[in-house]
């Protein structure tokens, strides 16, 4: 940021700017494409991020032309159910902001209530400030931010942390971007009881749940990364698994899928070990077969070896 400001100060305001060159120069196209490629689904989120990136690029150009001098508010809130990719997207956002020069260093400091709020009087402020100092020049990602506010306890130290955060969010907008994340409903309540937060946050992004086919695509990607693959029958079984799992309680999207895959790998390993005399090919070790999937409790057979 400093560098950008200085450049603006030293050179006279440019009156013609090649937008394409500017776009290529900062290299956000690559980050955005990567976002499209590597994150499955999340259409509204991606659209929103593209919009923000476009706005920031224009803002950057405007600054070069001397049309604007104030720093745009970049604080964001991510709401959505568990496992919808909020943390992953926060990391990408940080890299986009860094490339555009709106944060100087681009690191992401990810914290929860524990790291901000102290345990006794006078403990909270230094703790919160310490985290803020570490996050300066980058992005502060507060997961499950609604825990900061405990409506049932007036003397809760969370309020102190909130006050410090609000103050820094306002006065040091050019040094720090704060992203609050949490489940939709509870975040709404949090904002309702802390109106200061709502008004200081420019971008509210809602993360939708994944559709069945997206969840399956995510599963395939995860398996591919670990060099596993479904046999055709296992694939069909897993599609059924997803449909069933979604109807059950405590479903947390991609995270549930990851856990399911972990258990499936466990069962596959168990199956392979059961027959020690067999000579295995690489294919055998990579293949996940129908029984590995069907043994899950989700299919209603409680005899399954390794839980849900």
């Amino acid at each position: 940021m400093l560098a950008a400001v200085e450049r603006a100060a030293e050179s006279p305001p440019a009156d013609a700017i090649d937008l394409r060159r500017e776009f290529n120069e900062v290299g956000i196209g690559e980050v955005l494409d990567q976002l499209d490629r590597e994150l499955i689904g999340l259409r509204p989120v991606k659209t929103r991020i593209r919009e923000i990136a476009a706005l920031l690029l224009v803002e950057r150009v405007r600054k070069r032309m001397g049309l604007t001098s104030e720093v745009p508010t970049l604080h964001m809130s991510f709401t959505g159910n568990p496992g919808t990719g909020k943390t992953t997207v926060a990391l990408r956002i940080a890299s986009i902001l860094h490339k555009l020069g709106f944060v100087r260093r681009g690191q992401v400091v990810s914290v929860t209530r524990d790291e901000l709020v102290g345990q006794y009087i006078g403990h909270t402020a230094p703790k919160t400030k310490e985290i803020l100092k570490k996050a300066m020049g980058g992005v502060l990602f507060i997961d499950e931010a609604y825990y900061l506010h405990r409506p049932d306890n007036e003397r809760d130290y969370g309020q102190e942390a909130i006050e410090i955060l609000l103050q820094v969010m306002e006065s040091q907008r050019e040094d720090l971007v704060v992203i609050l994340a949490g489940y939709g409903e509870r975040m709404d309540k949090f904002f309702a009881s802390n109106p200061g937060f709502r008004s200081r946050i420019a971008h509210h992004i809602d993360f939708p749940d994944y559709a069945d086919d997206e969840l399956f695509a995510i599963a395939e990607t995860m398996l591919h990364e670990r060099n596993y693959r479904f046999t055709p029958e296992a694939r069909a079984a897993f599609v059924r698994y997803i449909a069933l799992r979604k109807t059950q309680p405590l479903f947390s999207n991609a995270r549930s899928i990851r856990n399911a895959l972990d258990r499936i790998r466990l069962r596959q390993a168990n199956r392979l070990i059961a027959d020690l005399d067999r000579v295995l090919s690489a294919d055998d070790i990579m293949a996940i077969e129908t029984p590995d999937v069907l043994a899950s409790r989700v299919f209603g057979n409680d005899t399954g070896a390794a839980g849900a």
Binding site: L2, P126, L132, K133, K134, G138, D175
Partner: protein, 141 residues
Amino acid sequence: MRITQGCFSFLSDLTDEQISRQVQYCLGKGWAVNIEFTDDPHPRNSFWEMWGLPMFDLRDAAGVLMELNECRKVYGDRYIRLSAFDSSHGWESQRLSFIVNRPTDEPGFRLERHEVSGRNIRYTTKSYAADRPEGRRYGGA
């Protein structure tokens, strides 16, 4: 008398932006930056008080500047310096320090001559400011 010590002591006082550049250099080297203050200007006073804890794991100078401004609010009438501590093996010591804040009025030092045995003379420098009790040396309450 303008007191000088540490780095950049022959330069005029650094502006906040210059300070932040220097701090960024320290952070880039992986050093922890500390804020210290005192109102005892004697050059041999090596025990300055610390403002808060040493700041490890910072990435950007804005964090240090934030603390420095807090410190100035409280001890703006005293000397404040930044020091950078290198914790890496083989160094484990201070690598850099410079003054970032000074009282508006620095009365300076007087030289005292002690006549000791055999017409010898021993010299002592005494700060005029240090005659008053701590906290009231530079117009503070």
